[in-house]
Each structure stands twice: as C-alpha cells, then as structure tokens.
C-alpha cells in the first residue's frame, strides 16, 4: 500500500487518525479495486496521494468533473469501513434535534462547494502534471 494512503483518506473524511484495524481492512479492497484500473490511472492516483494534502477537495472536483474514478471509489470504500466502527456512531447517526445546526450547514454549502471545487481543480492541474 502507498505510504500513508489510507490514513490520508481517512483523515480527509473523518478528520481524525485512522484506527489500525481500518487501515488493515482498507488494503484488500484497495488492491482489488486497483486491479481494475489501467496503469495510467494508477500513476495519476499515486501523484494525487503523494503531492496533494486536501484530498477531499480533489475528490470533490473529480466527482464534479467526472474524473479520477479510482480516488472517488477509494473514498467510498473508506466511508463504508468507517461506518463499521462504533467510534464513528455519532458521525453517521443523529440522536438530538439540530435544526439550527442543519440550517447553518445549508448556508455554508454554496461557499464550501465553490471553494473546495476551485481548490481541488487547481491542485489537480498544478500538482499532478
């Protein structure tokens, strides 16, 4: 596995350190997934992982532009693996009423999305040449 790949992806999504067990579990599906992609995609993917720190921005820009499927799928795998952990219960499940928090989140969506898209898009252009 690429140096710190799983840890980096996990941190981008969950904003915390990856539990050892998730790191181990990520390896198998990751290898399986990579075997379905051509070498050129793997090379680009490795550049993204090695050179770009805000992977969430790159993943978002890739989703919008329909590129870098490997990165997008690795994020999806990590979401599933993350949901398995009881420690992430509160990340996925809401137990308290939070209308204000939700409305606030909605107000940040346009700014966050534009910012993340531009950041990810530029990072891809500049750092993966």
């Amino acid at each position: 596995m690429k140096n710190g790949e799983a840890a980096k992806i996990y941190r981008s999504i969950f904003r915390k350190d990856i539990p050892g067990i998730v790191q181990q579990r990520f390896e198998n599906p990751s290898v399986k997934l990579e075997s379905a992609f051509p070498e050129s995609d793997l090379i680009k993917y490795r550049k993204i992982i090695d050179r770009i720190s805000d992977l969430a921005a790159v993943e978002y820009a890739s989703r919008i532009t329909g590129t870098n499927q490997l990165l997008i799928k690795k994020f999806q795998i990590m979401i599933y693996l993350g949901e398995c952990m009881p420690g992430n219960f509160n990340v996925f499940i809401n137990e308290k009423r939070g209308l204000i928090r939700t409305l606030l989140m909605f107000t940040t969506i346009p700014f966050n999305s534009v910012y993340k898209f531009i950041k990810g898009f530029l990072a891809l252009k500049i750092k993966t040449k």
């Binding site: 009423r97 939070g98 209308l99």
Partner: protein, 527 residues
C-alpha cells in the same frame, strides 16, 4: 403408472405450486439449485443500539467484501443483496447463468426461496384491469390469493386503496407508521377529497410482513435489521413454507442440482442437468414438469431445450422512477431508530386523463447502511457526511412503478455458447402524472422535484415477465395455455412470471404465486 410431478425451482412460484399439491395430498419433487446461507449472526435488539458498541464489519462488509460489491464491481444492487448475510441469494449467478447486456440489469437467484429471500414483500392482488389483455380473470385467482394469504400472513388495512387492492378480511393489522410516513398520511387524510380529485390516493401497503405471530414465525420487532440479517422470521420467505413442507414430508426436495433442459423419449419427459458440487450429470424422468426457475432461467431452459439461438423473445419489467422525498419538518431531527424500515405507504395515481395507473411504494430508509447515501448529495465528502447525519433522517424514497406491455418490452436470446443476451431500450415514461404526483406530495409536506427524480436502469424493478405469453389458443412454440402448458409440449407447464405478457404497476409476485397454485390445482384434478 403415473410418474411423480417435478417442479424446477424453490422460489415463490415453485413453492406456491407445491403448497397447492400438498393440499390435494400429492407429493411433488422440487429440484432446485437451492443455495442457503451458512452464516449466522448473533446481533440482537435494535440495529442502532447494537452498532453503538459493536464493530459492524462482519454484518456490513464481510470476508469476501460482499458489502463493497457495488463500489468494487460498479453494480447497483439493492442494499440487502450486498450484505454478507444475504449475498448468498444472488451467488452463483455469474457461473450458472451469465447474462450479457449493455442496458438491462438482470438479477437472478439460485437460492432456496429465490429472489423472494430478499424481497420487499409487497403482495398485491390483481383485479381485472391489472390483468389487462391476459386471458385470465381475477375471479379465477381469488381462491388462491386467499389460500396464500393464510400461509404468508399479510398485513395491511382496508382503506382508500381497497378500490385498487381489493377488500381483504384476512389482513393482519397494519404496521406502525414511521414519523414521516405518519406526517404524510395525516396531511393526505386532511385534504383527501382534493387529492383524490387529482387522481392521487394513499393508504397502507399489503405486506407479507407479520404484525402478529403467525405459523410459528415471530412478529416484526422494528429492529431495522431487515437489510442485514438473513432469515428474518417476520418477512415471509418462500423457504419458510419449503422447510415446513419438507419437515411434514409433503414434498421431496432435491437441492444442489442445476437443470439445463429437457428432452423427450417414448412420450416421457427427460430432465437433464448437473450436480453443482461435483459436476456429475443429473437425469430424471417424468410426465408432468412444472418450470418455476424464475422468468429469466425458465426462458433459458425453454430455449435450450429447443436448441434455439435465433429467436428473440420479449421480456418485461416495470419502468421505475426513484423519487426522493425530503420532509422539511424533519430536517435536523434524530433518526427514527424504531421506524419500520420497509414500505410504509402506497400511493396510487389513477386519473381519467392518464392512460396508465401508477403505483408508488413509499419506503422508510432506516434499515440500510448510512454509507449508501454517501455522494447522493452534490457536496464535498465532509459535507456529505454531515448531510447523512442531519438530512437523511428527513428522507423517504418512493419507488414509482409503471405498468408494462409488449410494446415496451426488451428482448432475450440464447447465444451459441449458452449464455443469455438481454437488450432493452431506455423506457420512455409519461411525465405528466409525475408532475401531478409531485404537486400532491408537496402539499402533503414532502418536498421533491422532477429534476431530482431518477429513472432506474431497465431491469432494476426485478419484476421480470412476458417471455412465454399466456394465450387462449396457443399458436407458437413460445406461448403457453391458460393452464400453463407450453405449446405442443404436453405435460410441460410454465408457472412463474414468464406467461405474464402484461404487468400492472402493482408488484407482480403475489399474482405469479396465485397463478402457480391455480395451475397446480388444475393439474391435480387430472391426477
């Protein structure tokens, strides 16, 4: 001497025929691939209490990475079929019956219980309008619907939808609605005259899910484990009846056998296949063969028996729209952990200015893993997680089914290397009714918009039918009689979805089952 009756397939249709024979004291032999799950899990209580303290890997992902199959293989299987405990339902499909198709997502089962081991158990009686041009009237199915209802235990209510679903005095009480479904239903009730004038009717679904203990099976406990665990006792699975019939010596059951075709010698039908464990050949003679391998595999068997790689037969499925329903009143609300995580309500759209009657199944989304919502929102991954937490509790989904007839059919063909090829153009669905339904739903407190409604890929409704149409007088070798007998093939009966050359927007399986039992009844009269 009369030979024993052979049924191929241990799914909803095969088991219904076996139940019909059992009532007449006839012991048929069921030959089935019949995969079973060897996995057991000790998860108890409510899913959301369980997951607070327990690692979900074995339930959600599994040693073969089943839970990631949609991500890894690019498929879009319903969540239940990807969980490690339930993946057995579709296992073996690629090896036993590969299908080539660019645009039809065909799902097959070689499990005991068949596809119904994973179904939503929406069980609807067809009326004459639903049966359309089929040479079959609802009156001839009614006694079999009644008998099957007793076996299955169907919950529901005689309400506004009885005019479409029929009045049924055998219904178990309906489910406790989830909070959002209750909200929607109350708003519907308050102004229902107006909604009805616009063609929109809402009521309880008819589900093969128990709200009371029945036939030794436990009632639903609102645990939300339906997607995750196998053999949930309150959701009817034909394997429940199959196991009972085996135990009571009312059928002979041979599993692990894959049938390819039949041939004839000296007037006898010779069934040929192989043992899937060791590949050894299998043969059995009979004079009465009922084929219930599911529309796709039944069709394959018929084409193989006739060594026909030229003919293209029609295949139907319901065109399906997936309609997300967002309830603004529930934004940011806690997840309804004890909601009933399957279909809560049905919507029927029937209006004089629309040719077709549409059926919507309004589904609570509390049972599947939360990860299935990831990237459903066009925002970054971090915000996606927040949306999953704060917005997904305010969502329901409606599966809106359209009827289907031969002019919308795809085609199915056997290739030279014994694979199936299915072709289907994208469905063209009438959108005017959708606008009316959307307007009505918004008035009931659920927000949605035609732009966020997704049309599913053909095949996704998993109600396959119409390959071997039922006719009053059969004229071609791919037609069956009202009694299910295949044209010029005395003693060979087609008893699953294949004879239904027209499907209503109401889920088809209960009618397939009633028809299979009816055919069995007719055969027993001659025995």
């Amino acid at each position: 001497m009369k030979k024993e009756i052979v049924i191929i397939g241990g799914g909803a249709s095969g088991v219904s025929a076996a139940l019909g024979f059992a009532e007449k004291g006839i012991i048929p032999t069921i030959i089935d691939v019949g995969m079973r799950s060897d996995k057991k899990h000790q998860a108890v209580g409510n899913q959301y209490d369980y997951r607070k303290d327990n690692d979900l890997y074995d339930l959600m992902i599994g040693s073969e990475l089943e839970g990631l199959s949609n991500v890894l293989d690019g498929t879009s299987l319903p969540p239940k079929l990807t969980t490690p405990m339930n993946n057995y339902i579709i296992s073996g499909s690629e090896e036993l019956s590969p299908i080539r198709s660019s645009n039809f997502s065909a799902i097959q089962s070689f499990a005991s219980g068949g596809l119904a081991a994973a179904w939503g158990a929406g069980l609807y009686r067809y009326n004459d309008e639903d049966l359309g041009s089929l040479p079959l009237r609802s009156g001839s199915l009614e006694p079999y619907y009644d008998r099957l209802s007793k076996e299955i235990g169907i919950s529901g209510e005689n309400d506004d939808l009885s005019q479409f679903f029929g009045n049924d005095n055998t219904l178990l009480p309906p489910f406790r609605l989830s909070k959002k479904a209750e909200h929607l239903y109350k708003n519907y009730q308050n102004k229902k005259k107006k909604f009805n004038r616009n063609g929109v009717f809402i009521g309880y679904p008819r589900l093969g899910v128990l709200t009371r203990d029945h036939m030794g099976r436990k009632q639903c406990d609102y645990s939300n484990f339906e997607t995750w665990l196998n053999d949930i006792p309150w959701v009817y699975n034909p394997a429940h009846s199959l196991d009972r019939l085996i135990k009571e010596n009312k059928i002979k059951y041979m599993s692990g056998i894959h049938i390819n075709s039949w041939s004839r010698k000296n007037g006898e039908i010779i069934i040929e296949g192989k043992n899937i464990q060791d590949g050894s050949p299998f043969r059995k003679n009979t004079d009465t063969l009922l084929i219930a391998a599911g529309t796709i595999n039944t069709t394959k068997m018929v084409l193989r028996s006739k060594r026909d790689t030229k003919s293209r037969l029609n295949i139907l499925d319901n065109p399906l729209l997936q309609v997300p329903l967002i309830f603004p009143a529930f934004l940011g609300s806690p997840l309804d952990k004890s909601a009933f995580g399957m279909t809560n309500l049905n919507l029927i759209f029937k209006s004089p200015d629309s040719k077709k009657t549409l059926q919507g199944s309004i589904i609570e989304l509390t049972s599947p893993p939360r990860s299935v919502f990831f990237e459903r929102f066009p925002v970054s991954s971090v915000l996606n997680l927040k949306m999953i937490k704060m917005v997904s509790p305010s969502l329901l989904a409606m599966f809106l089914y359209y009827p289907s007839s031969p002019d919308e059919a795809g085609s199915i063909r056997l290739t030279n290397n014994n694979e199936l090829e299915i072709e289907q153009k994208d469905y063209v669905t009438e959108r005017e009714p959708v606008k009316k339904i959307v307007r009505a739903l918004i008035r009931m407190g659920a927000w949605t918009h035609p732009l966020i409604i997704q049309q599913s890929k053909p095949g996704y409704a998993i109600h396959y039918a119409g390959t071997i149409p039922m006719r009053t007088n059969t004229t071609s070798e791919y037609e069956s009689s009202i009694n299910g007998e295949l044209h010029k093939e005395p003693g060979v009966y087609i008893i699953d979805g294949a004879p239904f050359s027209h499907i209503s927007s109401k889920n088809l399986s209960f009618t397939i089952m009633a028809n299979a039992m009816r055919i069995a009844d007719n055969i027993s009269k001659g025995k």
